[in-house]
Amino acid sequence: DAGVTQSPTHLIKTRGQQVTLRCSPKSGHDTVSWYQQALGQGPQFIFQYYEEEERQRGNFPDRFSGHQFPNYSSELNVNALLLGDSALYLCASRGSGNTIYFGEGSWLTVV
């Protein structure tokens, strides 16, 4: 049973560029959330998707957007990258229970 898978694992982007990160939830899970974890900090909630709709959003600017596909996989898009967007981006999935599983994350470095 595959867990939460994310791609790419590492990437480097230039300030002002755009990035797309991808997530496949754990088998049987239909709710996907994205978190940003800066170095030395706890994860911060970005948004949550369920039934292809954004259900909740944290305190992140509109430069952060997402999408959920019919197969429950999800994308996180960040436009106009800033140096401060450098972080580990985590995808989390949840099924019918309340256990939330995280992927290994995508390390984004903005230079």
């Binding site: 939460v4 709710t31 959330s33 978190y35 030395g40 900090q41 706890g42 994860p43 911060q44 909630f45 949550q48 909740q56 944290g58 580990l88 985590l90 989390a92 949840r94 229970g97 309340n98 256990t99 939330i100 599983y101 995280f102 992927g103 290994e104 994350g105």
Partner: protein
């Protein structure tokens, strides 16, 4: 009111010791309190979780103690091992079965020396 305060920031114990990590919250609507373990370069992995109707939960060497009136909960690691060296995060969420977003503490870096 949405914050979860975690302490200490770092902890050093010898093998066999019992490190204790504490968390406090303000929002009484929180109804799900998980603990995550994170190794360098990896995503957080769920260790153990508790609901507010239970005062203690044990899974293997990990125990959560929950004090609803004080709005505090803590993680105890029995017989700690060098392999337990990692960063530990407490978290809280609310909603039906804790379906809301997770609010994380700031993390505790644990080092267990042989």
């Amino acid at each position: 009111q949405q914050q979860v305060k975690q302490s200490p920031q770092s902890l050093i114990v010898q093998k066999g010791g019992i490190p204790i990590i504490n968390c406090a919250y303000e929002n009484t609507a929180f109804d799900y309190f998980p603990w995550y373990q994170q190794f360098p370069g990896k995503g957080p992995a769920l260790l153990i979780a508790i609901r507010p109707d239970v005062s203690e939960k044990k899974e293997g060497r990990f125990t959560i103690s929950f004090n609803k009136s004080a709005k505090q909960f803590s993680l105890h690691i029995m017989d700690s091992q060098p392999g337990d060296s990692a960063t530990y995060f407490c978290a809280a969420s609310k909603g039906v079965l804790g379906t809301d977003k997770l609010i994380f503490g700031t993390g505790t870096r644990l080092q267990v020396f042989p």
